[in-house]
Structure formats: structure tokens, C-alpha cells
Symmetry: C2
Subunit: 225 residues, 2 copies
């Protein structure tokens, strides 16, 4: 554990604490995003030098993990529900909202190196819902991971889209505008409405479909060869 007081004898009184460093990093992440979160930048925010930070964190990656832990500490347990389907949808929606609140979270999180205790409420509730709906524990875990993929994908794509919107018109826009209706009839028909639909938040409708599919016993689904 990190010492907050200087030990018995000798030494210089600290002007900084680990919490100060994390707080400064969080301000930088929230304001400027995780790419700008450099050691020198955090040090500046904390009113010290980049080298001083290395007394409180091993390296930049450890600082990012501390940042996530600090963020996850604010998560409260997602409630239990009588209806398993409702419990799954509620927990997944809360998980999505927690990630969407600060975009830097998803970026760091997709590195898959952190999983702080507080965030475990989401998988716990989702897996419990799936088991109570009749899936085996392992099938429930697979189902949770499918929901996790869908959620992270949505967050990351939305975060990246927001960033590239600032950077002017995309190659995508141009390709979609130049579609030949004979070659790609469905896409050509949809291209005027693409941007509008892509801009809408339809996380919930996809989630509902996915959960519906996961709750359906596989034997009831037509299985292509």
C-alpha cells in the first residue's frame, strides 16, 4: 500500500499524493481525451514535473488503470429484478450508460486489462438473469460476452465517429454518395438516410434483439448448415 505519511525518520515531506496524481489525470482525460493524457501533461496539471509522477505510479499504463479504478468506484450495484429479461436489459443498459458517460473509459477499457470490483455488478446481474431464464452457467457466460462485445463495439464506434466528424467529411460519406444502384441496390436506396440512422442511438433496440435471441433455446432456432 502507498504510504500517506512519511515514515519514522528522515526524508522530505511529500508535496504530492497518489490521489493528487489520479485526480489530475482524470481532469486531463475528461477534458482532452486519453490520447492527450501524457505524463508531461498530467504533471503540468498537477503542478509538478513528469519525473515526479514516477514516484507514485510505475508507468503510464499503471496510471490508466488507477484512473479506471477511480472511475469504477462510483458504480453502484445494479438491482435484482423478478423478471430475468428485465434484469438483463437493465444491467446492460446501465453498463452502457457508465461507458458512454466518459468516452475515454471505453478506450482504456477495451484493453481488457482492468476489471475493478465495482464493475462486476454488471456481469453478475446479466449472468444471473440468463441462468434464471434457463441457460447453463457456461452458456450464460457466453451470452454475457456477446452482450459485452455488442456494447463495447457500439461505444467505440460512436466515440471514433464523433472524433472524425470534427476532422471533416469522411471517405465513407463519399463512397456512400457514389454508389451504383445496380451493384448495391439496398445501400443505394438507403444512402440518403444513412447518416440520419447512424446518428441515432439505437443501442436499446439491438440489445433487445440480442437478449431475445439469447433467451431462445438454441433447439428452437433454425440452424443453417
Amino acid at each position: 500500500m502507498a504510504q500517506r505519511q512519511s515514515p519514522g525518520r528522515g526524508g522530505r515531506p511529500p508535496r504530492l499524493s497518489r490521489d493528487d496524481v489520479v485526480a489530475a489525470a482524470r481532469r486531463v482525460a475528461a477534458r482532452d481525451g486519453v490520447d492527450v493524457l501524457t505524463m508531461r501533461r498530467v504533471a503540468q496539471e498537477a503542478g509538478t514535473t513528469a519525473m515526479a509522477l514516477y514516484h507514485y505510479v510505475r508507468n503510464r499504463e499503471e496510471l490508466l488503470l488507477l484512473l479506471l479504478d477511480h472511475y469504477a468506484a462510483g458504480i453502484t450495484s445494479s438491482p435484482e429484478r423478478a423478471d430475468p429479461r428485465t434484469q438483463i436489459i437493465d444491467a446492460a443498459t446501465a453498463m452502457h450508460a457508465a461507458l458512454a458517460a466518459e468516452p475515454w473509459v471505453a478506450e482504456v477499457l477495451s484493453s481488457d486489462r482492468l476489471l475493478s470490483r465495482a464493475a462486476l455488478w454488471y456481469p453478475e446481474r446479466i449472468i444471473d438473469g440468463l441462468v434464471r431464464a434457463g441457460r447453463t452457467p457456461v452458456a450464460a457466460l457466453r451470452g454475457y460476452r456477446a452482450i459485452w462485445y455488442y456494447t463495447v463495439g457500439e461505444i467505440l464506434i460512436r466515440a471514433h465517429a464523433a472524433r472524425s466528424r470534427e476532422a471533416g467529411p469522411t471517405v465513407r460519406d463519399q463512397v456512400l454518395a457514389d454508389l451504383e444502384p445496380t451493384e448495391f441496390p439496398r445501400l443505394a436506396g438507403l444512402s440518403p438516410r444513412w447518416a440520419e440512422v447512424a446518428g441515432q442511438d439505437h443501442f436499446r433496440s439491438g440489445l433487445t434483439a440480442l437478449v431475445h435471441g439469447l433467451l431462445q433455446p438454441e433447439s428452437d432456432r433454425p440452424n443453417p448448415p
Copy 2:
């Protein structure tokens, strides 16, 4: 269009071409990943200096887009199928395989700035399948995007997981090992099998569930308040 010959008069004969630059970049990406794909590194691979590259590409981002276009040129159209469900599953599986083949692709692609013509076969076939199965065009587009989120999420998480496995034991492993069964009973019960299940490829089972849910008319689904 890029000139391959020197123009009518004057000038020095080129020792490099745009294709040479892209080919060198592709070798670096495939071998070392996209983080290592620096201008200086690509130049070294192409046998020239970093500054020479700027005659062929505007900046690093344009080079990444060229790389994706080059990769996407190898994509062939996904076939039409009589059964819409089969067509959707086949196209999504092919899309997933194309992304999984070279991990750097997903990283660049999630920036959402590219969409090269050849890659459009996947959304075309998926949306067509959904429309033929009775969804409206806009609902089909939303359905395609749900499949896209799920697919990109799976690829990115797997790529990141592979990278952090090299970097030693994760925080995640430790948190899962220390779970209190009274607090997180489902997770504690599953923790010995977590690594095993996470390591398996269950893209297809989640995809099947998602498509099943998307093909179900919403009116037939229980809708929590």
C-alpha cells in the same frame, strides 16, 4: 490519380511509387502491428527516408487509409442465398473472418473513416437479407449496425486480449480469483472456467442469437417498461 511516369519534361526519375510505399507499410503492419507503423519505420522498410514518403501520402492517416483500401481490394462479393437468414449469417461470418485475418485491420477500421467499395458487399447482403425477411429498410439498416457493433467489439477485444496476454497476468485475473461467493455468486461459480470460455471463439453462437432476435418482429417480443 498518381502519375507513374515522369511528365513531359524535366524532373528526376522516381525511385519509389505509391504502391511501393503501401506495400512496405503493409509488411510492417502485418509483422509488427499498427502501433509500430511509424513513418520512419515504413521508410526504412521501403529503403528510403521518412521525408520521401510525404511525396506519396499527405500524412500518416492517409497512409493508413491506403492500407485499408489495399486490403479491401482482396474482398470478393458474398453470395446471395435463397434463405435470408442463411445469407445474413454467411455475410456476417465472412465480414468477421476478413477482419480477424489481420488484426491491424480492425484497429484502423474502428476509426470509421474508411469504407472502401469492395467491403460494401457485406452490408449489402446483410441488409438485403433483413429486408427480404420482412423488415423495413430503415429497420434493416439498424439491424446491420447492431451486427457491425457486435462484430467489431468481438474483434477488438480479442486483439487487445491477445496483446495483453503477452504482457503477463492481468488485473482481471486477480480480481476474478479473489471473488467473494456471497457477493458475486454467479461470477464466483464461473471463475475457474472463465479463462477457458473467454479463450473460445463463440462469435457464431452470439451472431446466431442476435440474428434470431433481429428477425423476430418486435411485436412478438416481450417489451419491458
